[in-house]
């Protein structure tokens, strides 16, 4: 997935945070609160600082190839104001671009009687981060609105190389610095005491733009991918190549719809649907590692949540239980190909202290299939989050 388009969007990487489960709009952090849905933020009783950390691993069955990494997957600070308004900031990864591709075959190149064994590789590193500023307003007891302004930023380094006789390589590298601006509107509606409906629409205010700088080809004698001073041509002999602005690298529109039904005050069933389109434009300057991009995605998920009983002294009643199933399908631009993913989530949360500090742990397991590649990718993700509640901006009485 990292090799498509601008990389693997984190919204498609299992779950976004341990406290959110498979849901995005439907509350799963607390009974009426989803930390990813600002239209529910005013339902928090205290200001929350929540940090989530994830370990991701994917394994390709046929190739016996395993890649894994850990990352700070979400950091949110949310301030409810008089149970009517809220304000929050969220920092999270947006896209992971790390990938290294090696050509399937070594090619023999014969030049003036000398033969060279050549092997091509493509390497991309870096990614995009998202910084969200959001807030909500409770219009009525049944209806509330929320919004986020999402600043995308980051950079990536890209290199194509030809290795000669498994010794030195010729490397063409480039760097892109990204910036973009998205907006998302949220709506929560509670027609009855036991049912809720949620809706969100994400649009692009300023499509993702890249400041692209291509570096001069160089010969990497020690294969460290870095243009050292002793390598050819001498870095001091190179002229600075100016940056080129590339527009419309990513221009998403996302519709989300969610609903939940509450049973026995503590248990909830929910359903969520998502439709995503990306109106990006192909750039002649950048190369996409797998030469394909996701231009449309749909997903569905169902989940069950059981929340703690705040009035119970039984320790078992302090736990939040989350179980979810998700299905995603991504449509690729070229070759009529697609990627489907079926995933399962199980998560536990532990609520402690009267103010509702919370510790969440989730495990996601998914199976990803590519129509173009005759292989299956197994996805495993562990998320751990801690959410600390406190009163902010309230003068305390001196002891």
């Amino acid at each position: 997935m990292n090799g498509f388009g601008i990389g693997h969007l984190y919204q498609n990487q299992g779950i976004e945070a341990a406290h959110s489960g498979v849901s995005y709009l439907v509350p799963s952090f607390q009974r009426e609160v989803s930390l990813s849905n600002p239209s529910t933020w005013q339902n928090l009783k205290y200001t929350f600082l929540s940090i989530s950390y994830a370990g991701n691993e994917s394994h390709l069955n046929e190739l016996k190839n395993t890649n894994g990494y850990s990352i700070l997957s979400n950091a949110s600070w949310i301030l409810p104001i008089k149970s009517k308004y809220s304000f929050g900031v969220v920092l999270s990864p947006y896209a992971d671009q790390r990938i290294e591709l090696v050509a399937q075959d070594t090619l023999l190149f014969i030049a003036y009687g000398d033969s060279l064994q050549t092997l091509k590789t493509i390497n991309r590193s870096g990614g995009l981060m998202s910084f969200k500023l959001g807030g909500s307003y409770k219009l009525t007891d049944r209806l509330s609105l929320g919004t986020t302004f999402n600043i995308l930023f980051g950079s990536s380094r890209f290199s194509e190389s030809i290795n000669f006789n498994m010794t030195n390589s010729a490397i063409q590298s480039s760097r892109v610095k990204y910036n973009g601006f998205l907006n998302q509107l949220f709506l929560s509606y509670k027609p009855t005491k036991s049912s809720n409906f949620y809706f969100s629409f994400e649009s692009t205010i300023k499509s993702l733009e890249g400041a692209f700088q291509k570096k001069t080809l160089f010969e990497d004698y020690d294969n460290n991918m870095y243009h050292d001073t002793y390598e050819f041509p001498n870095p001091d002999s190179l002229n600075l190549i100016s940056e080129i602005k590339i527009k419309n690298l990513h221009s998403p529109s996302t519709y989300r719809f969610g609903m939940k039904k509450t049973f026995n005050m503590r248990s909830e069933f929910s359903l969520e649907l998502k439709a995503f389109t990306d109106a990006y434009k192909k750039s002649g300057f950048t190369i996409i590692p797998l030469n394909n991009s996701i231009n449309r995605s749909v997903s569905q998920n169902i989940s069950y949540q059981r929340f703690p009983d705040d009035l119970s002294f039984n320790i078992l009643d302090r736990f939040t239980t989350r179980i979810g199933l998700s299905s995603l399908k991504h449509f690729l631009e070229n070759e009529n190909a697609s990627v489907t993913e079926l995933g399962f989530l199980i998560g536990l949360g532990y609520k402690f202290k009267p103010i509702g500090n919370q510790l969440d742990l989730s495990f996601y397991y998914g199976r990803r299939s590519y129509t173009k590649y005759d292989d299956q990718e197994l996805v495993r993700q562990v998320q751990l989050s801690t959410s600390i509640a406190d009163l902010w901006f309230v003068k305390r009485r001196q002891k």
């Binding site: 950390y53 090696v102 002229n239």
Partner: protein
């Protein structure tokens, strides 16, 4: 907010998560869409012209004297240094030292030298020459009658090493009579120049080691043998010793017998001052192909006419930066008219059988990068080649033309 033990535990749990096993393995994939490619380019449009300069052999490892192969070497100069740390010449006037003898030594790799075929040594305290630029025009009409004639040397033949291998022969001149002239405090312009010349213009020819041959081993050198007495109440110590003073520069003046450059053949000879200029023309399409490319290799191949060339001749190719004067085949240039870049673009190699092959990769890459211009290339024989050797390019055989074989990577 206080940090409680439970919060600490949470922190420890998060820290543990940092130790999640990370692995990055490359994926095998079709990379047909990769824009990077490897290709070759052959450039045949290579032209040469010959030109002549007055030769200088300042950095040759030999000193020559006499006539050989149409080259006349009438005189050879040696200038002795004035040591900067301790001026040993001062021993000649120091009353604490008793000078026993002064000798000038030159070395030859000829094991059968005869005294009759050796030159005379002359001394002048104030004659100048420039090792790098003096040529025979500077010394036309030079008469050594004003110089002090030291005479012929004594020869010490067949000096062997510990394994009885011949090292060199020594030519030894006594400078005892020059003691006062070698350290004349009244002469503010004392340079201690020696000259070697055959007293009559016969056909003798001799080769000696110059100071470039081996540092402080076979350099021309002056040895001052001395002793001094240290006396106390009941003891007198009698100590003998010697100091060595090496040459600071040396030069054989070459006078080739030519009148103009032979443009029918392209050749090189440092003794004749024969050099060549090479022009390489890139077509517009060549330049388009190489735009932004990485030159993987760029080998210039020039066929050699083995019937008239000496083998193993070292040739230097130096890209031209600028012209100081226009090319004129009837002219013999006092200084090389083509100003070249030198290192790092200057490249060299020995001729190898029927070809001369050298890499122009670095310079071509900088042409592609726009750092230098493709004005032309100066081709000269290395100064360390014997001045009596020459190499000639074979440009008439249509089956093997001079060419540049380029392998490049582009996108």
């Amino acid at each position: 907010m206080k940090i409680r033990p439970f919060t600490m535990k949470i922190g420890v749990a998060i820290l543990c998560a940092f130790f999640w096993h990370c692995s990055e393995e490359p994926l095998s994939s079709e990379l047909n869409h990769s824009t990077l490619y490897l290709d070759t380019l052959l450039i045949n449009d290579v032209e040469f012209i010959n030109y002549l300069i007055y030769p200088t052999l300042g950095s040759n490892e030999k000193l020559y004297l006499g006539t050989k192969d149409s080259i006349d070497i009438p005189i050879t100069f040696i200038e002795m240094e004035t040591p900067s740390y301790i001026n040993y010449w001062g021993y000649l006037e120091d009353t604490n030292y008793t000078i026993d003898s002064i000798r000038l030594l030159l070395f030859s790799n000829d094991s059968s030298l005869e005294q009759e075929s050796t030159p005379h040594l002359y001394f002048s305290p104030d004659s100048h020459f420039n090792e790098n630029s003096s040529n025979h025009l500077d010394f036309d009409g030079l008469v050594l009658s004003d110089w002090i004639d030291v005479g012929k040397p004594r020869i010490k033949e067949n000096i062997l090493d510990t394994s009885n291998t011949f090292l060199y022969s020594q030519l030894i001149w006594s400078l005892d009579t020059l003691k006062d002239a070698l350290y004349d405090t009244s002469d503010s312009n004392l340079v201690r120049t020696f000259a070697l010349q055959f007293p009559d213009e016969n056909s003798s020819f001799i080769e000696l080691f110059s100071e470039e041959a081996a540092s402080n081993v076979t350099d021309p050198q002056v040895l001052i043998y001395y002793h001094f007495d240290v006396s106390s109440a009941d003891t007198t110590i009698y100590d003998t010793n010697f100091v060595t003073i090496f040459s600071s520069s040396d030069l054989s003046i070459i006078k080739p017998k030519y009148s103009h450059a032979d443009t029918s053949k392209i050749g090189l000879s440092s003794g004749l001052g024969l050099r060549a200029k090479m022009n390489i023309s890139f077509s517009a399409n060549d330049l388009l192909l190489l735009d932004g490319a990485l030159i993987k290799s760029a080998n210039l191949e020039i066929p050699i006419d083995t019937t008239i060339s000496d083998s193993g001749y070292k040739i230097i190719i130096d890209p031209i930066k600028n012209y100081s004067s226009e090319y004129d085949p009837s002219n013999i240039f006092l200084n090389d008219p083509y100003l070249s870049y030198g290192l790092p673009y200057r490249v060299s190699n020995n001729t190898n059988g029927q070809n001369y092959v050298v890499s122009l990769k670095d310079y071509f890459q900088n042409i592609v990068l726009g750092n230098v211009n493709n004005i032309g290339y100066k081709i000269v024989g290395d100064d360390k080649n014997s001045p009596f050797l020459s190499v000639w390019f074979d440009l008439n055989d249509s089956t093997k033309k001079p060419q540049i074989k380029i392998v490049y990577v582009s996108f």
